[in-house]
């Protein structure tokens, strides 16, 4: 389970006071608040398996509980808030929608709630990118730079290739996971490339 949504709160929470307008500030505040809620849904789902909240925190702190490497990349400009919403939340949605049908009920219930709230995250991110891409040359450069840095990490969010994924086979058999990593990644690429074209940004591997 992708519990460390809580880590979003730290990374993006840092930018709330530096948001360029009130519109951006309330949106980012609301997003970060959502992410804290999503962390709670997932911890609650996990607790139904008999583990305590404190043990789960302990596992995260000691490194026993794994989290997505996406949380390790720095956010260096405001454009990163756009790229993260658009790409990282976009990839998360692709990953989470099939999980609404996962075979473990409490996990599915949490995912349904998460998906309902997540689409605003992606839209607010894309809106930031649209504005920057249509702004000054310097702003457009910021947007392109953010896309360049977040594109590959976003693709990696969908997990190792099917051939190298050690959990996929069993998780698919148990119907915990409903689509393979490569299928999800292709879906993400197909969805995102036209969105980049539309606002005049270039996907880095097509340069």
């Amino acid at each position: 389970m992708r519990i460390p949504k809580l880590l979003v709160c730290f990374r993006e929470g840092n930018w709330i006071t530096r948001a360029p307008s009130l519109r951006r500030k309330v949106a980012l505040l609301a997003k970060v608040q959502d992410e804290a809620g999503h962390g709670l849904y997932l911890y609650s789902a996990c607790e139904t398996l008999g583990v305590s909240r404190e043990e789960l925190y302990e596992q995260l702190h000691t490194g026993k509980a794994k989290y997505s490497s996406i949380f390790n990349y720095p956010t260096v400009t405001w454009a990163d808030m756009g790229a993260i919403g658009w790409l990282v939340d976009g990839a998360a949605i692709i990953n989470q929608v099939p999980l609404c049908n996962t075979s473990y009920g409490p996990y599915a219930g949490a995912m349904i709630r998460v998906c309902k709230e997540e689409s605003f995250h992606q839209r607010q991110g894309y809106e930031i990118m649209i504005k920057l891409a249509n702004g000054t040359a310097e702003q457009k450069e910021m947007a392109q730079d953010a896309l360049n840095r977040w594109w590959w990490p976003s693709l990696m969010m969908l997990g190792p290739t099917d051939a190298e994924s050690i959990h996929t086979e069993q998780s698919m058999k148990w119907k915990l996971k409903r689509k393979s990593n490569d299928d999800l990644r292709q879906q993400f690429i197909d969805q995102t490339v036209p969105q980049a074209d539309l606002i005049g940004l270039t996907i880095p591997n097509l340069i």
Partner: protein, 95 residues
């Protein structure tokens, strides 16, 4: 490290007047007041509700899935409890 958790609360939300409260999820809180406040922040940020109930989870008695057979199967062969079991002449459109 202590493994003590705040008690777990089950959260029920009425989405609008006239509808029933539905189970929305659960959360930990020290007391009922905190449970209500947390439930409001976690589950009703987008006008999802007009009323919240919180019940400490330990007060809920649940049926055991192992007993599903004896509990629920007896209803399966009692089709006469449903209106569609009864034949009506075609002329009677609605009853």
């Amino acid at each position: 490290m202590s493994k003590k958790n705040w008690p777990l609360w089950e959260i029920f939300v009425r989405s609008k007047n006239g509808l029933e409260h539905r189970h929305f999820g659960s959360l930990h809180a020290a007391d009922e007041e905190m449970a209500l406040e947390n439930a409001r922040d976690v589950y009703t940020r987008r006008n999802e509700g007009v009323s919240i109930w919180v019940v400490e989870s330990k007060h809920i008695t649940a049926s055991n899935p192992e007993n599903n057979g004896e509990l629920f199967e007896p209803a399966q062969d009692k089709v006469y409890r449903h209106p569609t079991f009864y034949d009506l002449p075609d002329e009677v459109k609605h009853m």
